[in-house]
């Protein structure tokens, strides 16, 4: 490597290091360290993306052994996109969290170390090319996420964390069993070694393994009907945590589903399975949006919105499986674009919701009157994020929907068009439910206080990024193409 330092290992080491240091510094400390380090991670991710664009995807043998004896890391365009998303979401959120916990200190003691480990897990997961290593990153991720949900204490968050823990453990249990079956069948867990071995004549054990692994990951992604754990967990945690979980954590397992489906398990993919996943996605969109609409608590509404938006991610599977190449490409691009756009927008939305809750002192959609007057920037950010989720142009959400719609028409699967359009309208309904309340004057007896500037601006930065993604998304697609068979 001519580059020094090599960004790839540092993207994993750095968050582990600052997470540990934040723990050493003591309860509640380490925010400034975290912000600086995440900014550095952002630079590293950009550097890595640049390398990939120049030289194509790369394999990194940890310890110099190489697969199958050692563990390989692999960075291609898809991984780089997810890495960029992670750091891009984490940086503003870290700034937000510092302000948020200053205003609302419940749960701040261990936020930074847990977040450090969470980011390390995400970065490690995105570049791992080893099924068992992925299992370890999944556990690191899951336990960090559960810990974060529980940090504020209280009956509802602890219940949610418990439910979340069982869901995520069950998911990784299924995943681990799948890995065991694959190792037992072929004698390796390296993706690079396995991919050529796995053909459509694979033994039953491998098919079972694929089913177990994918089901476990779907559970972790909270795809309908496995969504039961998500709303209380994401709706009950402190706002910066909700934002991290909704924006990034569920994307990690989605990323794995996508990668495995397109690469390792591609020979086993059937139209029926793809349609089934798509149908679950469609159900998630409609059911999640509908439930979002019926919520009275702001953060629960945003959390149910995540259930719905996750559904869009999974529409890519029927659109990319055994269809003409152009449609499949467009579908994958759309799905990844949706992951990125939703990541940015949902982080913005949870951050904005957190500011509103700090300002009004309660988590109640009916009592948002006055927010529009006192926190215009926050409300504006919420609205911009809403635009992305609705899929209106220009926004990353629109680009994603456009690509998915094109894929649907090109592959002649018009029924997904109807789902996407209906979902967009339902989204508009619940976003405007919040906005119209916030436009009202302050209700009698309520108070709306100002919040620190950093809270308002970090949410705005995220929302703006989601919009700009819609205008300048082409480079992202170029990066995504690195390492994908043309």
């Amino acid at each position: 490597m001519t580059d020094f330092p090599d960004p790839l290992p540092w993207l994993i080491v750095l968050p582990l290091l600052w997470g540990t240091l934040a723990f050493l510094l003591g309860p509640g400390r380490g925010g400034r360290l975290a912000i600086a380090a995440i900014a550095l991670q952002g630079v590293l991710a950009l550097q890595l993306a640049g390398q990939l664009l120049d030289d194509g995807s790369r394999v990194y043998a940890v310890g110099g052994w190489g697969a199958p004896l050692g563990i390989d890391l692999m960075a291609d365009g898809l991984a780089a996109v997810m890495l960029l998303l992670t750091q891009a979401v984490a940086l503003p959120l870290a700034v937000f969290a510092r302000g948020y916990f200053a205003a609302s200190p419940k749960g701040r003691e261990l936020f930074w170390p847990l977040t450090g480990f969470l980011l390390a897990a995400l970065n490690a997961l995105f570049v791992s090319a080893d099924l068992f290593n992925i299992y370890v990153t999944l556990e690191l991720l899951g336990l960090a996420a559960v810990g974060l949900v529980a940090i504020a204490g209280g009956r509802q968050p602890v219940t949610a964390a418990m439910r979340y823990l069982f869901a995520t453990l069950l998911g990784s249990g299924a995943y681990l069993l799948g890995v065991a079956l694959i190792y037992g069948s072929y004698g390796s867990v390296s993706l690079a070694v396995l991919t050529p071995l796995l053909t459509s004549e694979a033994p039953l054990a491998v098919t079972l393994a694929a089913a177990l692994i994918l089901t476990g990951l779907l559970l972790k992604t909270a795809l309908f009907p496995f969504h039961f754990w998500l709303p209380p967990a994401h709706g009950g945690a402190p706002a910066p945590v909700s934002a991290l979980l909704s924006a990034l954590v569920i994307k990690a397992s989605f990323y794995l589903v996508l990668r495995l489906w397109l690469e390792l398990f591609a020979p086993l993919a059937t139209v029926a399975a793809a349609q089934l996943i798509g149908a679950l996605g469609a159900a998630a969109i409609l059911w999640g949006s509908w439930l979002a609409l019926t919520q009275t608590r702001l953060k629960m509404l945003v959390a149910y919105s995540t259930v719905a938006q996750v559904g869009y991610l999974f529409l890519l599977f029927p659109l990319a499986t055994l269809v003409p190449l152009g449609a499949a490409d467009s579908a994958v691009q759309g799905g990844v674009m949706q992951a990125v756009a939703h990541g940015l927008a949902k982080a913005a939305m949870f951050a904005a919701a957190g500011s509103m809750i700090v300002a009004t002192g309660r988590d109640d959609i009916g009592r948002l009157g006055g927010v529009g007057a006192r926190l215009p920037l926050t409300l504006f950010s919420f609205g911009l994020a809403g635009v992305t989720l609705m899929g209106l142009p220009p926004s990353g959400g629109f680009s994603a929907k456009w690509l998915l719609l094109m894929a649907a028409l090109e592959s002649g699967q018009w029924w997904w068009v109807a789902v996407m359009i209906a979902g967009g309208l339902l989204t508009a309904a619940y976003v405007f439910k919040v906005l119209r309340r916030a436009f009202l004057p302050v209700a009698e007896g309520d108070r709306v206080t100002r919040v620190p500037r950093t809270l308002e601006f970090s949410a705005f930065a995220l929302a703006l990024a989601a919009i700009l993604l819609g205008l300048f998304g082409a480079p992202l697609l170029e990066l995504l193409a690195v390492g994908r068979a043309a």
Partner: protein
């Protein structure tokens, strides 16, 4: 070269001030007003430059690739400038009027912020160079107008906002499906005179017909074509400047303008004719004209009556589009401008009555002409124009529509025009009669601006309607001169018909 950036600058000239205004403190009235006016005048100046260029066969195109095969295109061609000029000039008047209208009201920064965004969207709609760009600004328009519709924050306003959103977002969804489908069938098609779809293979004809239906339905919502018009009368709960904006400058116009673009510059009028798409649209427009007028007849609420009048009048534009032949085109296009000028006058006046005397209903207008003669004079000009009394603006439109109907071999349209004119007279003349000839009632419902010397109301409320009323007269009287809307519409019609020589 700065040329490609000019269209973008026109859009930004209201977008940037809008953003700044949005975050201005409520008390910064001077700065806000200054920003508003600087934006408005800068826009008009930029448009002036481009008008000169387009007249000399120059085109200004701004292009930015959003995704592979998906470009954001802003293009200043003759058709775009027709609409842009209209909305930029009327925006200036509306802004002045709104400053007077909202004096002392709460949340003005928010109001003017969205107001500017709304015009930004309209200008974008006008200059969109392809369907995607059009859709982008069309949806932005929805989002920017919603806060204006619900601005008062009353239950009624919120309900109207709900209905407005349901209709317009639904329409947007149809438009999106149509657009995506069209991109799937034909690839990226930029708007171009004469249309571009006629080169497609014949086996796509069926699909193209369905797409046309989707596009027109999507656009018809904002254009308030029956039966998609339900939101418009509801939305008149908004403050008067907003109504002016909705009815004359932005929203319904965006819909009508979109229909013009789709028929002429996506399908091409000749290709649309060959797909047998024009006649159904003409029938829909005719029904809308009659139905809107009929409903207007029975409204006592002044703004509701005007709203139904808009339903009917905007359909004239659509009707003109469907009359195959340059004269019909001319009538439709010129009415795009004329209807805007006339209807904005009427809404300004209605706002004046409400603000000054608390008059909201036709039945309360007895003798108002004596208390507010100038306003009533402007109202009278606008109303006569709508009826089509020569030599006012509306007459010119109807004249060319009539000629166009004959040219297109659709004489039944003449009957529609005649019936509608009669109905127009039937719902406007009684108002005028009350205003001028009935004795005033003893007390006005709620007089809030007293007579001060010669000023029957606040100057900023009075001057804009007088100016636009004068324009109603001028564009009619001088229709034949250079640079009149009619002259510009001829230029456009020239370029739309490939086979036509005047």
């Amino acid at each position: 070269m700065i040329d490609p950036w000019l269209p973008a600058l026109v859009v930004l000239s209201s977008f940037l001030p809008g953003l700044v205004i949005f975050f201005l403190a409520e008390e910064r009235i001077r700065l806000r007003t200054a920003l508003n006016l600087i934006g408005a005048f800068a826009k008009i100046a930029l448009i002036g430059v481009m008008l000169w260029g387009v007249l000399n066969d120059h085109e200004y195109v701004f292009r930015h690739t959003v995704l592979p095969g998906l470009d954001l295109v802003l293009k200043a061609d003759a058709l775009a400038l027709l609409f842009v000029t209209l909305s930029a000039v009327l925006w200036l008047f509306t802004t002045l009027y709104a400053i007077g209208y909202l004096e002392g009201a709460p949340n003005r920064s928010r109001f003017f912020g969205f107001f500017s965004l709304c015009v930004t969207a309209t200008v974008g709609v006008a200059m969109a160079g392809n369907l995607f760009t059009f859709f982008l600004f069309y949806e932005l328009l929805t989002l920017a107008t919603y806060p204006l519709v619900v601005h008062r924050g009353t239950e009624k306003a919120l309900r109207a906002g709900h209905i407005y959103l349901a209709y317009t977002l639904g329409g947007g969804a149809l438009l999106l499906i149509g657009t995506v489908w069209l991109y799937g069938v034909a690839g990226q098609v930029d708007f171009a005179p004469g249309g571009t779809l006629s080169t497609l293979t014949p086996d796509t004809a069926g699909q193209l017909q369905i797409i046309f239906l989707l596009l027109i339905a999507g656009l018809g919502v904002k254009a308030a074509l029956v039966p998609l018009h339900g939101w418009l009368p509801m939305a008149m709960v908004a403050p008067a400047p907003v109504s002016a904006l909705l009815h004359a400058v932005a929203v319904v116009k965006a819909g009508a303008f979109g229909i013009v673009r789709v028929v002429y510059e996506v399908y091409g009028i000749e290709f649309a004719q060959s797909l047998a798409l024009l006649l159904p649209l003409a029938i829909a427009a005719s029904i809308t004209i009659i139905w809107g007028s009929l409903r207007a007849l029975f409204q006592d609420d002044l703004k509701r009556r005007l709203a139904y009048s808009t339903v009917s009048q905007v359909a004239y534009i659509v009707l003109g589009v469907t009359l195959f032949g340059p004269l019909g085109t001319l009538g439709g296009l010129v009415h795009l401008v004329h209807q805007g000028i006339m209807k904005i006058t009427l809404f300004f006046c209605a706002g004046n009555y409400a603000e000054t005397l608390g008059i909201h209903k036709v039945s309360e207008m007895d003798g108002v002409g004596r208390r507010m003669p100038w306003t009533t004079l402007a109202f009278t000009l606008g109303a006569f124009g709508m009826i089509g009394v020569p030599p006012l603006a509306g007459f010119i439109s109807k004249w060319y529509l009539g000629l166009g109907a004959l040219e297109a071999g659709m004489p039944w349209v003449l009957a529609v025009l005649a019936a509608s004119s009669l109905l127009n007279a039937a719902y406007f003349l009684p108002i005028l009669h009350r205003a001028w000839f009935r004795p005033p009632s003893t007390a006005w419902p709620h007089e809030s601006i007293p007579q001060r010397g010669r000023w029957e109301t606040a100057p900023l409320l009075l001057l804009p309607p007088l100016a636009t009323a004068a324009a109603t007269l001028v564009v009619g009287l001088f229709a034949a001169s250079d640079f009149s809307p009619l002259d510009w519409a001829k230029l456009i019609a020239d370029r739309e018909y490939l086979q036509w020589t005047p």
